[in-house]
Assembly symmetry: C2
Homo-oligomer: 341 residues x 2
């Protein structure tokens, strides 16, 4: 069987602190056969778009008993992506798919549990890594299911210009809420206000005292917080929550690379303000995907929602793109193009 080159981005060493480019490696010498063995029920794909998600950082550490198992050293990183089926032993997957794949040109996907057929190709295919992928369903579940927003409520979103945050803000506006977002550059703050319709936005890096900042933007307090950041931001938010507030904990990007997480020192406010803080794993909510698609597709096609992607070209750019997220370099959903078709 003829084999072709299969460039890969592999994990070279486990990460301590911030991930570094030196911990990842472009392996240009791997090869692959573009035909599945007879009788295989796997799916052989050509990868098109790879999703850079902060949660991958967890799998780059060798922690015991983590819900996210550590990556194998020397193997391609495994993450979400959009791919074209080249050969398939599975009747459901014959053309376009999205789901767990490798950071490489071609992948053999044997476990198809996390694979989904792409039905609608009227939208950019890359959207299936973001607004139509994990980021979209995360924003949907975390905001609507977990926070149960009511019209007129006060909503705060951190990392608001990111893959998930930009959607949460727009969902909040569509729900008749007042929404403020935080981000780390002027460019992002402008996007929040001018493109996504946040009522207000601020650059957290320019604020000395987050507690005071939040008091300024929410003189009446916060009903709903969509948590992407953690640490000091969470502490400041807790101080500004209103009675019966809800916090949906999607991620804590400020904490992933610290030796020791920052402590949150006002947890007693949970009692005195009757707050609910709920973490969630979007995997537990995949059954809601059809319902989400039903909501989001018309919004996209009618131009009622916008989505910003930050696209870099080629597997060799993947490590820097991934690492850049922890420094807030990406503007919108970070993804890597491996091939366009």
């Amino acid at each position: 069987m003829e084999e072709v080159k299969n460039k890969q981005t592999v994990l070279k060493s486990y990460v301590n602190g911030f991930p570094k480019e030196s911990g990842m490696l472009l392996n240009a010498s791997a090869t692959i056969s573009l035909k599945l063995p007879e009788g295989s029920n796997a799916v052989l794909v050509k990868n098109l778009y790879l999703s850079c998600d902060p949660y991958l950082r967890i799998q780059m550490t060798k922690a015991e008993d983590s819900y996210f198992p550590p990556f194998a050293l020397g193997s391609p990183i495994v993450g979400l992506g959009v791919a074209k089926v080249i050969d398939s032993g599975h009747s459901n997957f014959k053309k376009g798919v999205s789901g767990l794949t490798g950071w490489e040109e071609y992948s053999i996907i044997s476990s198809t549990d996390f694979l989904r057929k792409i039905e609608d190709t009227d939208v950019p295919l890359s959207y299936y890594t973001g607004i139509l992928g994990i980021a979209g369903i995360t924003a949907y579940v975390g905001f609507f299911e977990i926070c149960a927003p009511k019209k007129g409520e006060y909503v705060f979103v951190s990392a608001a210009a990111g893959a998930v945050g930009q959607l949460v803000g727009q969902f909040a506006k569509l729900s008749g809420c007042y929404v403020v977002g935080s981000a780390g550059t002027k460019e992002k703050v402008d996007l929040l206000k001018n493109k996504y319709g946040f009522d207000e936005a601020f650059n957290y890096k320019e604020e000395q005292d987050l507690n005071a900042t939040l008091k300024r933007y929410f003189p009446n307090g916060i009903d709903i917080y969509f948590e992407n950041v953690g640490g000091k931001m969470l502490e400041a938010v807790l101080s500004n929550m209103r009675l019966n507030g809800r916090i949906s904990v999607c991620g804590m990007i400020s904490q992933y690379n610290l030796e020791q997480e920052e402590g949150v020192r006002n947890m007693f406010l949970l009692v005195t303000k009757s707050l609910r803080v709920q973490g969630f794993l979007v995997g537990d909510y995949y059954h809601m995907y059809p319902k989400y698609m039903e909501m989001i597709m018309p919004l996209i096609k009618q131009g009622k929602i916008s989505y910003t992607e930050d696209i870099v070209e080629g597997l060799e750019s993947a490590p820097a793109a991934f690492i850049g997220m922890f420094y807030g370099k990406n503007v919108g959903k970070q993804l890597v193009v491996v091939a366009r078709e």
Copy 2:
């Protein structure tokens, strides 16, 4: 109108750190008329049992914008109690009542919103400060409503020999759960195991590493944590929670007297374990009181639940009894008898 002496326990100065007896005062010179003015719709009561609740500590500090307004200096402390009606301008309150009253011999209760008529006198009247009062409904709501226990789940209760904890443990056993409690003396640990039927119990003061302790008692992890303590205990519990665990935050007695709360440094586990942490104010659940009474009364009368009270005599003993709770001196529900009838 003839006046009688009305001994009072008053707050002398606001508290910083641990409350001290010197911050409270017995005022033996106050007087009161035992007849309400013509046309009054207040209720004049003779106080029988006063409830010592840790939350009162919050009102002994002059904090801004607290849900619990600070007490007025020089006035009797206001808390929950059981009382006998002496004179009443309110048709519903003619005999026994429970609810917010003063730490004094007689009180005029003008706001009857937090007053409840005592219907069933087949049980010790003092029970209306505990198992039939705020502690009972707190245990009920926090465990059943907030944690939604399932048979076979693993439950951990801190401050388990206290007014609320002893009930939560027994509710957990009645629900078919496996339950472990922590307390601060050997006597209490024995009570947990031998009187309330906890499967296991430990003295947290004898443990060097709470994380390891919990791992020992919960090799499979914790599904439900009933939080009374806060700080380091909460951190250790988070590390030992199972996927989809629930934490009901009732109080954080270890933190009330600290200048700065201990930080909780593993909040990201909320995401990776999909945890829900919910604080609650029992006042929001008073409507469930009849349902709770329906459940608890038969259990008490059939001897299927036991309740330990720690009773001290006289208003002059109230400050020490209250303060003692923060050192774990009380065994069971702490209350003060002002008069027995």
